[in-house]
Symmetry: C2
Subunit: 411 residues, 2 copies
């Protein structure tokens, strides 16, 4: 079975490629390296050092004798999207090739428009490329649970049956996303649903919870890392908390910390994407999966990280800070997520087991995190003020940054 991975160089793309390759899939990838570029542009780097794509592919070739085909291309160009689809002649296409950061999209007008341009127009190009070259291929598209926002009713998997003014219909569940990034995924979902309706394309739109983790089986086998971001722009909450814990920087829930979200470990995200690929919907179907393992509150996560860190003799302080976002800090949150379970999804490890692995991996690269300590505190605010929040603790402010790490040449 042939699979095209758009965004193969990313946090999820790369371990997915290795997993599919090890499962016997023929893997073809496309990436424009915009994630590496954007992370560099905000002055940050991955906590775990990562190889160039060329060297990654070399390692795979030496290890398995198999060749992952790669196109350095950009979905913002129809020609590149079309070439990738044509050359890979895929049974399934996994589209992870988007700008993935909410804070990045909220920095200023240029970042907001760049994010929607990259994500919305890139996906449109890909849809046309599929229509023109591989109409029967199954598009597995990475959306986000953030598309739904935090409504006061249970969130179904994409659609819901309602009664309104005495009549009934099955309708898309309303989206109320909270950033221009999250909205780009909302726009994608609507564009993909139309493409399925009018052209008969088939797609699974994955509303994924926040992903955390540093390791999958294949990453360990190959001795490779996937990227692990912890800065205010590209890091997500659990990974950030773990990086903060490792360098003795207080964990920083935003506001009251009562925000509840769905979460899933990296290894389980890949398990789920693989299940989606192996179980395509019927022709013309636009299907939505809510891809998460458990729902947690942010304060609860901070406590989990503190508890696990304690067992590793890492001393952790929790210090809430002013919320840079505009969001409810206490709210109802329930999410239906049965469809992937019905296809066989079973979480690999408990949250605490996973946290232990992450902390262990990060401890080895503590100086890389320390060297970018100044990029941890959020300065990007949803309301657009240009202010820098107060440094949290004297301890964090005065920590030593090893000079050689600040000059590290690794990405």
């Amino acid at each position: 079975m042939r699979v095209l991975i758009c965004g193969i160089d990313g946090y999820i793309g790369w371990p997915l490629a290795l997993h599919l390759e090890s499962e016997g899939f023929e893997v073809y990838g496309i990436d424009n390296f915009s994630r590496r570029r954007n992370v560099r542009n905000v002055g940050a780097h991955s906590a775990l050092p990562i190889l160039s794509m060329e060297r990654r592919l070399d390692v795979v070739r030496k290890h398995s004798g198999k060749r992952i085909k790669f196109l350095h291309g950009d979905l913002r160009k129809y020609e590149d999207a079309s070439r990738a689809v044509k050359e890979s002649d895929p049974h399934a296409i996994v589209h992870l090739g988007e700008q993935p950061s909410a804070p990045f999209s909220m920095m200023n007008c240029k970042h907001a428009t760049d994010t929607q341009q990259n994500n919305v127009l890139g996906t449109l190009n890909l849809l046309f490329a599929i229509r023109d070259n591989a109409k029967d291929a199954h598009l597995v598209k990475l959306g986000t649970m953030g598309e739904y926002g935090t409504p006061n009713v249970e969130i179904p998997e994409g659609f819901f049956d309602i009664e309104y003014q005495g009549r009934r219909d099955r309708l898309p569940f309303p989206r109320q996303a909270g950033s221009f990034y999250h909205l780009s995924k909302v726009h994608d979902s609507a564009n993909i649903a139309l493409a399925c309706k009018i052209w008969g394309l088939i797609s699974t739109d994955i509303m994924q919870g926040v992903v955390y983790g540093s390791r999958t089986q294949e990453l360990a086998d190959y001795g490779l890392n996937t990227r692990f971001d912890f800065d205010q722009v590209f890091g997500t909450v659990i990974n950030r908390f773990c990086a903060q814990a490792v360098i003795g920087y207080p964990l920083t829930p935003y506001g009251y910390g009562g925000q509840r979200r769905g979460f899933i470990a990296l290894v389980d995200s890949i398990q789920c994407l693989t299940l989606a690929i192996q179980n395509p919907p019927r022709m013309g179907e636009y299907r939505v999966f809510n891809q998460l393992d458990e729902v947690y509150g942010v304060n609860e996560l901070a406590e989990h990280v503190k508890t696990v860190a304690d067992t590793m003799s890492i001393d952790v302080e929790i210090r809430p800070i002013e919320n840079p976002r505009v969001e409810a800090e206490e709210h109802f949150y329930e999410v239906a997520h049965e469809r992937l379970r019905k296809l066989g999804f079973r979480p690999t490890r408990s949250l605490d087991e996973e946290l232990g692995i992450i902390l262990g991996d990060l401890l080895k690269f503590k100086p890389r995190i320390l060297s970018k300590k100044r990029l941890i505190a959020p300065t990007i605010t949803w309301r657009g003020q240009k202010k820098v929040p107060p440094i949290i603790t004297e301890k964090a402010r005065t920590m030593e940054v090893p000079e050689q790490m600040a000059r590290s040449s690794m990405t």
Copy 2:
């Protein structure tokens, strides 16, 4: 009161400018002339000849002594959006500056992406320009009733109160638009709602029915025309039917012709936009109006045009053709539209009176319609096949095209 009109050169923008000017508003406009360019690029022209913006503005100045300020600018550039907002220092901004054609957006990948780029990113730039320069200004944004699609329940004005799984919430009504153009407006609506939420902007998002008509009071007073498109790309159903009637081309409902939509006359669209401007929502509110007069089925409209044409001794044939779109041809359709009525909206004329005026205006320019007869039949299909539908009647095919009109230099 100062008003900025984005898209002042368009079908609605121009008569709105004249109306607001005559009502004592200070009017400032911006346009990039993309509508003129796009119409020219598909080989078509306006049935009613229109002057250049420069000459239009001259006529206004000579007639009223007042000056409408105009910026030749492009909302796809933040700098232009920002300059327009800064220079006009508006109390209200009416945003009509979008690519308005569904068939245009369905021609190919480039047209789909160009449409979403122009509309979605243009609106994003405008939102940032308002945030940065005129945070208290009221954004009146032209959306479309097409954002909602044709659900099997009544369509409320933007939001609805529902009960689901035993809990209640007020949610945005789900959007199920039927073209990449209509989706661009859906994306806009979501982006605007977020801008209101996080920045406290205030906006009225107008879900407008299909507009028809050739005349407003001010257009007649000034002896000016607004554009009137009738080709397959830029013409909308009632205007197209009238143009077809005038040249003896059969009226062409798509498929069964049972599609029901909301409609509003041009003069009433302008009445409603003016009411929205005069009655802004409260700070930070994102408000939705369904702006239509009546709901009609397409076959019913064809019959109305035929009946009115009969009274003017115009012989009309109705000949359904294969539907180039993907849409339900028989469906439930009910739309709440109370909010503008509550602000005082009263339709100016009956549909049949308006049809009589349109037919009368068009009769004077019959040769201009005849000369573009080949652009009436739809060749752009939603499914993307590249086929030309059969010519409808022998009569239509063999009609004479006056040579001098084909070479006309008017837009």
